[in-house]
Amino acid sequence: MHIPDGFLTPPVWLTLDAISASAIGWIAHRADRMGPLESPTTSRLPMLGVMGAFVFAAQMINFPVGLGASGHLLGGSLLAIVLGPAVAALVMTVVLVLQALLFQDGGILTLGANVFNMALAGVAAGYLPTLLWGRSTIPIFLGGALSVLTSGALVLSQLNLSGTAIAGRPLSIALALFALTAVLEGAITVGAVRAIERLSPQSFHARSPIPFAARAAFASAALALAICGAWISSTSPDALQQFAASVGLEAHPAWPYAPLAGYELGDLSSTGLAGLAFVFAICAVGRKKH
């Protein structure tokens, strides 16, 4: 799900680079203020760095999923649940930087998009359920699954905004793959969190009462998702029709999905995003009643 360079148009990657750079800058600054990251004795920097290395290594452990296939952990939600969302966002950002530069996994200009999808939105979505309902099995599973679904929906919408319309059967396949990955990530996250509880219980961050800033961040994330969904559903049918017209799809009976293309894309991805926004909204409301 790392978007390579070349697939996003300049307005899309520029916007996401700006958003991600300021968000990560703010998180780093804030983490510094709460307990100096670089103080000699209480510094958390070595821990954060080794945790980033842990993510790389954990991704190498294969989980059998049947039929000889295997999958692996992605890690954003696991880190968020164990170490807290701010730390997880910083560590995942660094992991993404190294994956882009050393392993050709994700682009350089699209780094902002990948950071936004996985280190910011993915981590936030992965953290939310356990923040609200504690560290029991279902919230942990939901966290893992939601982080994948959020990142996936964002990748699809960014590709759509860049004119690579994914509709019809490819969209169904993509959504099915995301759903499978989400279930797997949820299951692995549950198993890994339980194992870490047994082996290294002191590693879990103290869950403080939710500060205002965090609630504001989640609220704006929900809002952003809602706006994003609305925007795509309003723009992409037109874009798609234009796209179809420009390549002569209307006069192309061999294309089996053309009659539906204009609708399916807008409907499915906006429904998905609206659903996610709904989950965020429910979570925000549910929290206040606590």
Partner: protein, 197 residues
């Protein structure tokens, strides 16, 4: 265990000798150019990258092969454009992503890690982030080796079951945590005051 790029970046050539900030700026400009390039311009981009590869005195075939790591994913996305009937667009997407990967790889393969973190620092990237970057880079091969050992041991026993793999992640985490603590103590003992100079 060291990464291939790390071996390459320690060689010497005019490209290796260039200031990392200049190379990083050139890389960003080049990538922006590629993301706007039309098919015929991509040929010019390719010619430029090929020249740069020759100047860098790196093994050209190996470099081109490594950059191809990006192709499977790009091909999937390009295939979607292809099946919707837009062959030219599919080819452009594929070309852009491959050349971008090649450009990024060429930068990483001619710039030692300390040089490009120094470049990032001079660009006012938060120092905490750069320190984390340096720690991850220092320890990722160490911990990855541990993960490989665990996987090999599991294969010898007949492969991971799901629960065993989850437990392996837990073990890996606990070991990493302990390592972080002892590394930190050792660094303080050697005079670490929160920043690499």
């Amino acid at each position: 265990m060291r990464h291939l790029v790390d071996q390459w970046s320690r060689r010497s050539s005019p490209l290796h000798a260039l200031d990392a900030r200049a190379k990083l700026t050139a890389l960003l400009l080049l990538l922006a150019g590629i993301s706007l390039s039309q098919p015929w311009w991509l040929l010019a981009d390719f010619a430029f990258l090929l020249t740069a590869t020759v100047v860098s005195r790196l093994p050209t075939p190996a470099l081109f092969k490594r950059a191809a790591f990006v192709l499977p994913l790009s091909a999937v996305i390009a295939a979607v454009a292809w099946f919707s009937g837009d062959t030219a667009r599919a080819a452009t997407l594929l070309g852009r992503s491959y050349l971008s990967a090649l450009a990024a790889l060429l930068f990483a393969a001619t710039t030692p890690f300390p040089a490009w973190t120094a470049a990032l620092r001079s660009w006012r990237i938060p120092p905490a982030l750069i320190s984390i970057l340096q720690f991850v880079y220092r320890y990722m091969f160490v911990i990855a080796e541990e993960a490989q050992t665990m996987s090999a041991a599991a294969r010898a026993r007949g492969g991971f079951r799901f629960s065993a793999a989850a437990a392996a992640i837990g073990v890996l985490f606990a070991r990493s945590w302990q390592r972080a603590e002892s590394v930190h103590r050792a660094m303080i003992a050697r005079g670490y005051r929160g920043r690499f100079t």
